[in-house]
């Protein structure tokens, strides 16, 4: 009855930690709060690694349900609080925990006020994101999806700079609007599952079965598909819904930007795979040319916009958007190579954008400015930071032996050889994408060159180089980037079965 390795513990212990932090137990002694938070984060990350170790490949495991008084949570309505892991989420959950741990360690010097509130909100956010990844029930997914809104709203608006309140409100309104589309589509799907099968249940497996067996009018399927897609399109920023992302990134504190870009975007990407691809395969195949066009627009727009930015954080935000465009390109290619590459990009982009924002944060701490015009010549004083920055730089432009290379290579191969309905479109799109990614090389190189290499008149100021915990964080990220770049198969073999089962669904 009580397993040692259960998802309930994984998801709800951060909430427990948040309550302990928020209670009067700690007073305002932020040193103890910080240490407690870091310890909890480390234990949680190690615990989540155990899930990979004990994962049965090919079989959905760790299925867990919350029972209240012997019956499901909302059994009358067919909603059960069911959690489970499969090939993709068993990688995403430890990744989430890892990025949160890094941002908790880094926030030692970057967060200077209201520690109690910050750490408890971070843990609540961790719990809700893990709930999104691990839930096996549609409405439970929705509950955790919407529950992400509140902690992140407070995190953005409290510790940000200049326009943070407006950006936080923009974030809230955009995402909530998207999730309204999502909830209406979910309710529609819920009832069609009921009509075609006679049983009221919101579990995703049940819905997948009823979608394939049931008789749905095609018009309604299209409506539901668009509802789901809009909801996720706002989260995984697809141009033109990306405004909340760039504004929130430029206005929030560094650890929060890391989490926002590395994890929250991934929830949108995961949602597209879980709902749009899994439940509506024929429609996805039919609309894959459009998705490919969206992907290419993402890449082009983001890369071109990143050139003109003065703010470093906005540049990196646009880089994230273009990576998500690549992800969509890989998804819409509909073959194994493309899907593998897309998921790999989902993972690699987390590391790289976390690293990029971390470097930005470190620079901001030292030089107290984020605008590109005022920063130059830091390489003289901070050689170690420059070293790691250039490692991440090369990773961002997908140099081989870094983590981004296998993903991008597979995506381009898959997109080029995809058998979508409009034949030349695939080839043209992938060609454009490759060209634009070359541009990506140039704007990131330009960014770091300006920051580190040009020598200017800042010789009177003395900057300290990174040391201590900051050095450790950035070193760990770079190490992971190089490690998974050299051995990408270690990650790919875990989600291999998942992609194969997705392809089965697509072919059928």
């Amino acid at each position: 009855m009580f397993d040692l390795l259960s998802l309930k513990i994984l998801i709800f212990t951060p909430v427990l930690a948040a309550i302990i932090i928020a209670s009067p137990l700690f007073g305002t002694n932020f040193i103890y709060i910080r240490r407690f938070a870091k310890t909890c984060g480390t234990i949680h990350f190690l615990y989540s690694l155990l899930f990979i170790v004990f994962y049965n490949f090919g079989v959905e495991s760790f299925y867990d349900e919350i029972m209240i008084f012997g019956s499901g949570w909302l059994e009358k309505l067919g909603i059960n609080a069911a959690f489970g892991l499969d090939g993709l989420t068993v990688l995403l959950a430890p990744l989430t925990s890892f990025i949160f741990l890094i941002s908790l360690i880094v926030s030692k010097t970057m967060i200077r006020t209201k520690h109690k509130m910050y750490y408890s909100l971070m843990f609540i956010l961790l719990s809700t994101v893990l709930g999104v990844f691990c839930s096996k029930d549609m409405f439970l997914f929705l509950i955790f999806w919407e529950a992400e809104l509140i902690p992140l709203y407070f995190l953005i608006s409290e510790w940000g700079s200049c326009n943070c309140k407006h950006s936080a409100m923009k974030y809230l309104l955009y995402i909530f609007c998207g999730s309204i589309f999502l909830s209406v589509a979910m309710i529609g799907l819920f009832f069609y599952g009921y009509l075609s099968n006679g049983e009221l249940s919101a579990s995703i497996d049940f819905l997948r079965v009823s979608m394939t067996d049931g008789i749905f009018p095609v018009f309604l399927k299209k409506l539901l598909f668009f509802g789901f897609f809009t909801g996720f399109a706002v989260k995984l920023p697809i141009i033109p819904f990306h405004i909340w992302f760039t504004d929130s990134q430029s206005d929030s504190a560094t650890p929060i930007s890391m989490v926002l870009s590395a994890i929250i975007i991934n929830t949108g990407a995961y949602g597209i795979i879980r709902f749009n691809l899994d439940l509506f395969p024929e429609l996805f195949i039919k609309y894959s040319p459009f998705i490919m066009i969206f992907a290419v627009i993402n890449i082009i727009w983001a890369s071109l916009a990143a050139f003109k930015q003065n703010d470093i954080k906005k540049t990196i935000a646009y880089y994230s958007i273009s990576q998500m465009g690549l992800f969509l390109l890989g998804l819409s290619s509909l073959n194994k190579i493309g899907l593998d590459g897309a998921i790999f990009i989902m993972l690699s982009h987390s590391f790289i954008s976390a690293g990029l924002f971390l470097i930005t944060g470190l620079i901001y701490q030292v030089a107290k400015t984020k605008t590109l015009q005022e920063l130059s010549g830091l390489g003289e004083f901070m050689p170690i930071l420059m070293l790691f920055a250039y490692v991440i730089n090369f990773a961002a432009v997908a140099v081989p032996l870094t983590i981004a290379f296998p993903g991008q290579l597979l995506v381009f191969l898959g997109a080029f050889s995809s058998d979508c309905s409009i034949e030349p479109l695939a080839k043209i799109c992938s060609f454009i994408a490759i060209l634009i990614m070359l541009l990506a090389a140039s704007y990131i190189f330009k960014l770091f060159h300006k920051i580190f290499c040009t020598s200017q008149f800042y010789s009177t100021k003395k900057y300290h180089d990174v040391s201590g915990h900051r050095l450790m964080c950035i070193a760990v990220i770079c190490f992971c980037i190089i490690l998974f770049g050299c051995f990408p198969d270690s990650l790919m073999s875990i989600y291999n079965n998942f992609t194969e089962s997705l392809l089965e669904i697509l072919r059928v």
């Binding site: 909302l74 509140i150 309140k165 909530f176 309204i180 909830s183 309710i187 009509l195």
Partner: protein, 480 residues
């Protein structure tokens, strides 16, 4: 005589206890001196708790009608009475300040409150148009007396607006009742149920139903009588505004649910009318509340929008509709009393009604602000509060098990986005960095604090244990 005692003992006991307590309140005011308001409070509280306990006598006698078929007891009425009595307990707890200032008149205040509660309970369980009309009149008269109790000017104006509004609504209600009486010659719900309406009278039946619904919407604060609700709440004292926003509304919705369930379930055109009114009310409440600077008006607009949602849940003429209404009503009770109690605490220590004075209150009193935050999040409809579940249940019930509910579902769900924006204006103010006033919340407002924390706790509990409550509401909706 035996029958009378039987009926009173088994079914009418809660109302009897309340009326006896009201009479005692008036009687005892002759014997007590100046500082006896505490006795009046305790008497009222004890009597409400006893009548809540005595509701259990009626559970086994469901389906019985008493007083020659004028009142009925079903599962639905028992649950509505429980909600009404809970609301009454909260009101008495919150009016501690007022009764202290009223000194000797506190007896009269509590007795009028008790009569109002009596009228609400009778309204919910009435089975005939005559007791419906009488209870509605008593309810509106006593509510306006409660509003006008204070010795300043604003309550009087608010009471005037309230009573003129309710008189016009009663006029419409009476016209509708008379036409209904004219069609069938019967005033009793169980006898009106027999559908012998021919083709000639169905139009008149529809018109009279619409008139009756218009007449009831004044109590509900919905269209077409929603324009004066913010003024009324702004003028009345805080505990009375809290009471008005919950108890008469629950009673009105209860009787509307009963009327719809017994009389109107066959006419689909009424569904359209009610849903249109509900959507208009929701839009009015949400859009009107955006630019408010006074906390009472803000909470009034938010309660108008929530009543619109409850009306929308009643417009689904099915079991799911009524059961989603019961769940929404329960959550609404706790949410509303939570926010009003929090507003009372704040106004007691800082003395202003303005929303802008809530700036930075998190740094002065964090726990109180977190409780207020949870109530506001529940009003906005975000997880992990039960406001989200109630709206989700409402949307699920709106689809009516096929696609015909979609034209109503989509505007309703789009309007909830405005709700989030509305409440997060206040939330972002509360957590702002610079507190503008030194609001030291004194420690003696024990009753109000009890209400705030209890309501917050219930909001979270009804989220986690929603299954039992939804099962209960589905059970109650069957025997309407």
């Amino acid at each position: 005589m035996d029958l009378l005692i039987f009926e009173i003992k088994n079914i009418f006991l809660p109302e009897t206890i309340i009326i006896i307590a009201a009479l005692f309140n008036i009687l005892l005011s002759l014997f007590f001196g100046k500082n006896a308001y505490k006795f009046s409070e305790r008497l009222t509280l004890v009597s409400i708790i006893i009548s809540l306990a005595s509701l259990s006598f009626g559970i086994s006698h469901c389906g019985y009608t008493i007083f020659s078929e004028n009142f009925i007891q079903t599962n639905f009425t028992i649950i509505m009475k429980v909600l009404i009595l809970l609301g009454a307990i909260f009101t008495v707890l919150l009016s501690q300040n007022i009764s202290k200032k009223l000194k000797n008149q506190a007896f009269e205040y509590h007795s009028i409150l008790l009569i109002s509660i009596f009228a609400s309970m009778c309204l919910v369980s009435s089975n005939d148009f005559i007791p419906l009309f009488i209870s509605l009149e008593i309810l509106s008269v006593t509510s306006s007396l409660l509003i006008a109790f204070w010795n300043k000017y604003k309550p009087k104006e608010a009471a005037l607006k309230f009573i003129i509004n309710s008189a016009v609504a009663t006029g419409f209600l009476l016209l509708g009742i008379s036409y209904m009486y004219g069609i069938s010659g019967e005033l009793n719900f169980s006898l009106l149920n027999i559908n012998y309406y021919s083709q000639d009278t169905s139009l008149l039946f529809g018109i009279s139903s619409v008139l009756i619904i218009i007449g009831l919407t004044c109590q509900l604060g919905c269209m077409p009588f929603q324009r004066f609700v913010p003024d009324i709440y702004q003028g009345s004292p805080y505990p009375i505004a809290a009471y008005l926003s919950v108890v008469p509304k629950l009673a009105g919705f209860g009787i509307l649910a009963r009327i719809i369930g017994t009389l109107m379930y066959d006419t689909p055109i009424l569904q359209f009318v009610i849903s249109f009114a509900a959507l208009y009310t929701i839009a009015y409440g949400l859009i009107g509340g955006i630019r408010q600077t006074d906390i009472k008006r803000f909470l009034a607009y938010s309660s108008v929008s929530h009543c619109g949602f409850m009306l929308l849940s009643l417009s689904i003429f099915s079991n799911y509709g009524v059961s989603s209404f019961i769940y929404y009503a329960l959550v609404y009770l706790f949410m509303n009393f939570g926010v009003w109690a929090a507003a009372i605490i704040f106004v007691n220590c800082s003395g202003t009604d303005n929303i802008k004075d809530y700036r930075g209150i998190f740094y002065i009193r964090p726990y109180y602000t977190v409780a207020f935050l949870i109530c506001l999040i529940s009003l906005a409809g975000l997880p992990p509060s039960s406001g989200f579940l109630s709206k989700l249940y409402l949307f699920i019930a709106l689809t009516r098990l096929d696609v015909s509910g979609l034209p109503i579902l989509i505007p309703a769900s789009l309007l909830t986005v405005i709700a989030v924006f509305l409440y997060f204006n206040i939330i972002s103010l509360m957590f702002d960095r610079t507190p503008k006033n030194n609001c030291i919340i004194p420690a003696q407002h024990m009753n109000t604090k009890i209400v705030v924390y209890f309501c917050t706790l219930m909001i979270l509990l009804t989220f986690f244990f929603a299954n039992k409550i939804i099962a209960l509401s589905m059970f109650a909706s069957i025997g309407i």
